[in-house]
Structures are given as C-alpha cells and as structure tokens.
Symmetry: C2
Subunit: 338 residues, 2 copies
C-alpha cells in the first residue's frame, strides 16, 4: 500500500505530494510552499482518490506553522482562506472535504484562542485524524472481506487508495486466494498506474484491462465481485464515483454479480441533486500518456464522475457495517459493529 | 471518407496498406510483396475494420499476377494457399471473409482453366466486388438514416469504415444536423484516430470521449442513438463487435436509446456458438500510444471483441432493409428495398 509519506506530507516547511500523473514510470514529488500551491496541485490532479484529503490536511498544518507569528485575528483569517481553497479545488467532493478540514480549522482556532502553538497543535490533530482514517479503512476492509468467498477475483475501478489496499491486505491476512482486475481508467490511467502497482507491490496477482472490457469480463463471469469506493455516496443511495463506474455497475447487475461500494454515506449530500459533476479540461481526453491521440480540430469531453443509482448497488460497506443503498439514513444513528 | 487507395491497394507489384496503428499522427504505408506479408499485416492490425477485406482481396490480385507464368495446377495451389492465409489471419471474421475471397478464388481458377490472363481478370473482378461493397454501404447508410431525426447526435464505437462514412454522408446529403461522438476505443484508439478523423475531414462536428464515458453520456441522453457496424451478426441475432459494444448497448437499452447495427447477418454463423472471440497479445493493453502504462510484472488481458445479445439490439440495418435481431433468417430470402 502507498505509505502516507509517499502520498502527501508536510516536511521541512512544505507539503510534498507524490506526482501520480507520472507514477510509476517516474517517482517525483511536487513541493508546495503555501496552501495555494496545494489547492492548485489538487486541481491539476497531481494527486487524487485519498490523496487530496491528505494534501488538504497537510496544507492546514503548513499554514498553521506559517501563521504562528501573526496576530490571532490575522492567523484565523489566513487559516480560513486556506481551508476554503484546499477544500474547493475540485467541486464534486467539496462538501465531504469541508467536513474533514473544518475540524482541523476548529482545532487550530481553539489553539490560537488558548495561545497555544498552533503549528504543533494542528500537526498533532491532523496526525490523529489521519490515523483514524486508516483505522476506518481497515474496518471497512474487514467488513467487505466478510462478504467474499475464499477464492475471489475482484474487479475494481480507478484507485480506491487505502480502501482497496486494506481490502487486499485483509484478504491476505485471512489467507484468501485473491486476485484483482483493474480497468486502466482513462484518461489518467489510475487503474493501470496506481491500483495495479499497489496490488503488485503487495504480491496480489493483478490484471489490467482497458475501460471497454469490464462488461465482457462480467458477461463471462471472470470477476466474482465488483468493488469500488466512491467520491460521494448520497443519503438517497446514489454512488458518485470515477466515470465508468455506472456502466460497470450496469453490467455487474445484468450478470448477477454483486457490487459493493466501500464508502461512508455523506450527511452533507441528502440527495443526488446536491452533487455537482465536475467537468475537466476536454484536452485531457485527447491525449494518452502525454501523446496526442486525435487529429487537431477534433473536440473532447471530460466528465470526471458518473452516478450509479441505488438499484444497481448491492451494498454500501462502511466502518459501521453493511447497508442497503435504500437504507442509508440509519447509518448516522448506528454504532460500529467491530 | 478514407479512399480505398488509402486503405489497402495493389499497385506496382505490391499491396500498399495504410498503417492505421500510427495514423493520423503519421501517414505511412506498409508495402507487402506477397500474400504472407499481407496476412501478417492483417494479424498485426496494420489495418482493421473494412481494411482487411480490401487487403485480402488485393492480396489475391497480387498473387494472381505473380502466378501468371506458372502451370495451371501450380497457380491454383498458390492461389488457394493465399486465399487461406489472408482469410485466416484473424479468427473472428474468418467465415465471413472466406465467403468473399472464395468468389475471387473461383473467378481466378475459372480464368486459369480458360487460359485467360489471371492477373487482369482477378484485378477486374475484385474492382467490381469492391464497387459493390461501396454501393451496399451507401444503401445501408440510406436505410439507417431513414430511422434518424433531423437533428441527431450519433454515438458510435470503434471504426466502421465505409458504413459510418456513408451514414454521415447521407445525413449531409439530406441536410440533417448531424454530430458524432466517438469513444476512443482502446487499446488501438481507432475511435480517436480513425473515426474522428474521417468525420472531421467530412466537416461533421465530432467529440471524442474515453471508453469509460459512454454509459454516463447515455444516462444524460446526450446521444440520440447508438450506431455501430459488426464483425459478425449471427443468424440468432447476436452482435459480435469491437470490445466495449456490449456495455454501451446495455447502457443504451437501460436509457431507452435505440441501438442500430449496420451489418449483414452472416449465413455462415447460424448461432453465437460458431463464433470464436479472438484474444490478442496482452502486452497491447499495457501500452497507450506506444508508452507503457503499468508497472513491470502487472499482467494484461485483451479480448478483441464482445457479444451483444439480441435483446439489447433495436434493429439490424442491411442493404435489404431493417430487420429485428430475432428475425434474421428471412434476410436471406428477401430482396433489396431500394
């Protein structure tokens, strides 16, 4: 699994972000010296999946250290500006990211009021939050692996960061015969470049296919299950995830293959109408690995996410247990099962 | 539309085949000096879609010229070997291609028996067959355009050669407000490189998307119709076409958008059980535009075609008219409508 220090981390006065646009052919870091550079890096998809969540929190740590010598009011203003910038770099996940970063901001403001050193306080708080994220991902992994047979071929989509990492790790701990199929996930190829690398590094047999192949694989019953995370799960059971998830879910449903979504329902998104689907620069779909594919003059179109309706989803798997997509409101009143 | 001379043509003692693996960024031809080189070029996907049909027939012309000074028996043997090699370079379309090339072989053998010059005789015969193919494609284009509204956004898949070319041309002749959406069609990107180029050259507005996007576009009702050709349409109504067609057809069906297949049912494939799905070199899916995508050690898998069942197909559009996929046997007893 990618270590958090190799995703995005505050160190020596800057946030270092692994440049996933070139990984694994190159291992390079983008070094951000202020929160604006972090926001820009998130917008530019230097990192994605869980990466922006780490990067945004680390930007808050960096900013907290940078404002330590300012007046309390000035420091608060800058920290609020930072929190807004890093959570709004991409629209689709803004509501969920605000919820996480707001806690960091609240802690920092309390530290400032109490005349504590806001830098170390924020750093410690964020470390605790990140540890909790890992712990939550492990429990979600345990809960989804509970649903899998002993010999299992998992089809996934894009790069689900720690969620797919812990799912595979728990499979290994339980000595399941697990293998993974990754659609390459154009245009950025996160499946081929990131998910496949993580699985291969863990010793899990992994096969990459192009994004036009999952339907056929499901019709041939090659995968036993389709599992992905989500950028947003709305309380009315819609799954917003990397473009392509919907058509894979359709094919899984058509072929009676279960589809599990490993993600916490978003209290900030009661219905699908509250979600904005980000459209990215159309030029990006006209290139592959940096090489232009289409003739000049041909247009592109790049919606970054799609929407899978609840009828295609077998279960939403959370750290509190397994839920029907039609029954997510009870998540917020339920205790953890493990 | 790509002129036939720019697809695959016999000239100056060799068959020149446009190298579609690098088009449109480079315009290069593979020059084949004997039928074995043509068969290898087809297997290597130097050309595809309608290209192998032209290349195979042109290989027969070249071979006919090459055997003119041989004994009749020797000439026949070589021509039969050539016919076998060029029709069996790729498995999925072999039956259909044999049917076409067998006619060329029969004509050549008759010329040899009659002591006519087999080279010019074969060349003339093939020219007539190719003209008939174009004429048939135009009529199919007319028949499918009959089904379209005046303002129409067509979603297609891969590169349907003359069939998509004539469909767009007939739309223009009838002054329809037509635009095209091309999934890029990994791993070879025929949609981005070939179909989009043909449409753009014709002045048709064209948008390229990645292969994980058609489902979302269909859910948003951006295309009005999904139209593709097929490598094989079996008499029991299954459509065998470029991998990805099945999952697009599923999404079209789910969203009540019609799916028309412009292709002649294959009398040589009464049921889907008679079709072999070609699996190509897995390394090809691990590269994009010649650049490696995944880490070394990660495996690939490359089924070249998929199977769309008749329940997802709105109509099979032929030169004899429009058929239900459940009623294809009557095609062979029916006259042309135009």
């Amino acid at each position: 699994m990618l270590k958090r220090e190799n995703v995005a981390w505050y160190q020596d006065g800057a946030v270092k972000i692994l440049d996933r646009r070139v990984y694994p052919s190159k291992v390079e870091f983008v070094v951000c010296k202020d929160y604006k550079e972090v926001a820009q890096a998130i917008a530019d998809m230097v990192t994605q999946s869980g990466g922006p969540w780490l990067a945004a929190q680390q930007a808050m740590v960096m900013t907290a250290y940078q404002v330590q010598d300012q007046s309390v009011d000035k420091a608060k203003t800058i920290l609020r500006e930072a929190a807004y910038a890093v959570t709004h770099a991409r629209p689709t996940t803004s509501e969920r990211m605000v919820a996480v970063v707001q806690k960091v901001l609240d802690n920092a403001e309390a530290a400032l009021e109490a005349k504590e050193a806001v830098g170390p306080s924020t750093e410690e708080f964020v470390l605790e939050q990140v540890e909790a994220t890992y712990q939550r991902a492990r429990i979600i992994g345990q809960n989804v692996v509970d649903l899998l047979p002993d010999k299992v071929t998992i089809l996934t989509q894009c790069f689900a960061e720690w969620l797919i990492g812990f799912t595979l790790l728990v499979c290994q701990e339980r000595r399941k015969n697990v293998s993974l199929i990754c659609p390459e996930t154009r245009p950025y190829l996160q499946g081929a470049r990131l998910t496949a690398s993580v699985a291969h590094d863990m010793g899990v047999p992994v096969t990459v296919v192009t994004d036009n192949m999952p339907g056929y694989l499901l019709s041939q019953r090659i995968p036993d299950v389709f599992i992905c995370a989500a950028d947003v799960v709305t309380l009315d059971g819609h799954v917003v995830n990397k473009i392509g998830t919907y058509q894979i879910a359709l094919a899984a449903h058509e072929n009676n293959i279960p589809f599990y979504v490993t993600s916490t329902p978003s209290a900030d998104n009661p219905t699908i109408d509250t979600v904005t689907i980000e459209e990215r620069n159309p030029e990006e779909v006209l290139h592959a690995m940096g090489v232009r594919t289409a003739m000049e003059g041909v247009k592109g179109y790049y919606p970054a996410f799609d929407i899978t309706p609840p009828k295609l989803v077998s279960a939403i798997v959370t750290e509190k247990g397994v839920f029907s997509p039609y029954d997510l409101k009870i998540y917020w009143g339920k205790k953890q099962t493990k």
